[in-house]
Symmetry: C2
Subunit: 265 residues, 2 copies
Amino acid sequence: MGENLPGDAVENGKKSPRTPKHWELKERLAELLRAVSPGGSLPGERALASEFGVSRTTVRKALAELTAEGRLTRVHGSGTFAGEGKLTQRLQLSSYTEDMRSHGRRPTSSLLDARIGAADPELAALLGIRSGDDVLRLRRLRRADGEPMAIETSRLPLPRFPGLDRYVGDSSLYGVLYERYGVELGHAEETIETALATPAEAALLGNEAGALMLLLSRHSFDTEGRPVEWVRSVYRGDRYKFVATLVSPNVVHSSDVSGEGGREL
Amino acid sequence: MGENLPGDAVENGKKSPRTPKHWELKERLAELLRAVSPGGSLPGERALASEFGVSRTTVRKALAELTAEGRLTRVHGSGTFAGEGKLTQRLQLSSYTEDMRSHGRRPTSSLLDARIGAADPELAALLGIRSGDDVLRLRRLRRADGEPMAIETSRLPLPRFPGLDRYVGDSSLYGVLYERYGVELGHAEETIETALATPAEAALLGNEAGALMLLLSRHSFDTEGRPVEWVRSVYRGDRYKFVATLVSPNVVHSSDVSGEGGREL
DNA sequence: GGACTTGAGTGGTTTAGACCATTGCGATTA
DNA sequence: TAATCGCAATGGTCTAAACCACTCAAGTCC
């Protein structure tokens, strides 16, 4: 993160909160890391510990943060290696596939499972059906160049799309919705937040449990405003970032002054 | 995150990766937490350690993850308390101020500092000026109901806005740009990714160093496509989520089939 | 030659314990 | 009454050490 843009000195009015050892170590390791090309390897934890005169625990804490930031990749039993930076995905309308292609990546995605279950009250409300109605749940694993990137879980209301479960898997979900049910998507609402990987997610992504993730939820509606699907995707936070282009006739240039001399937007 | 939606059993084809103690403990604590209303307190680390028969280190690891997810708040010297959920901010055009207001929050923001420095080559390219030209750097701390939420660092090209530094602080930045320089914003490109808090950021946000953050960068252009500002904001990942509404005539309903039997978007 | 075993080296988990820094309250004091 | 001090409890940092799980290559066996 910070990369110490000039003038970022500590300078907080009160007390300087004494930088912990693991943080100082982290910066020294980051420096050491700049001399290593992506994929290059670092010394082992034990070696670093003795070299820098700290305990292995402290080394691990520093390495953990660098890993969470995507600057390191660690492989159990093998070693610690320099990371490769983040991929990006546009928000807005483009598809995962298109987007990866435009970055010269080879996108693939595999269906993990497709099953039918009963909607709980919350899910029923989201999908515009009654509690207990059937819901089709699809789980997909998305990859870029073969590397697992995200787990996507879609839920669709079966009462609205009877037999949908039989058409899934061999062609585009949105294609099927359009051709067999005449449904076109109109708008969607997405939220993005941070999350930590569950062990199951971590296993699928080749990740560690507790790793940083970007949690993206999408609630899609058709052109008439009826809910079509509810999607929850977890993306690897160390390998992914989202991009949105805000085209806007007039991005707020008048607005109220507020607060303590500050401003908004 | 997961909240164990039905059917999330481990079931990865190969080996079950034996759940670590700290994860199991985390789930037990999460359960224990459901019985506590927001703001309520939990037993101390040492008490939990002896109660569950694990070491304090393991307890801390579990608590750290719950904290990162915003489900816990920890206060040094005082105790551990139940969290209060996340606020949301729309992407798109609305302002921080508007958005907080619409959630019934009281938004404020204070100017931390305003200084002029020389642009490095990268920043110069972003702002459409020459390397070494003057750049105005504004740092603001944003709060909701008095609670620090984000640090926003804006950078503007002084050659394009001579004297801008003298007008800042007493009124809307965008208002000044419009009234004194005739600049209207046209579009912006935003990226969202995960990051970890630096000690300095943590101190300002009342956070821990290494805490989960959402890093949002905005690159704004005027109606003629010239760069106006470059903004880097770090939001507390445990207290914030972003929302985007994707209005769209036709969100992809035809597209190519690819990969291993899976599908895209 | 090919399949298997073994072991060294790596990261991952957990423990027990020490000490530090902050908080908040009760007792003491002015 | 009001301010101060001291102390106990809390979370934060760090250490040293043990053990586990995985990887990979060298060596062995068939």
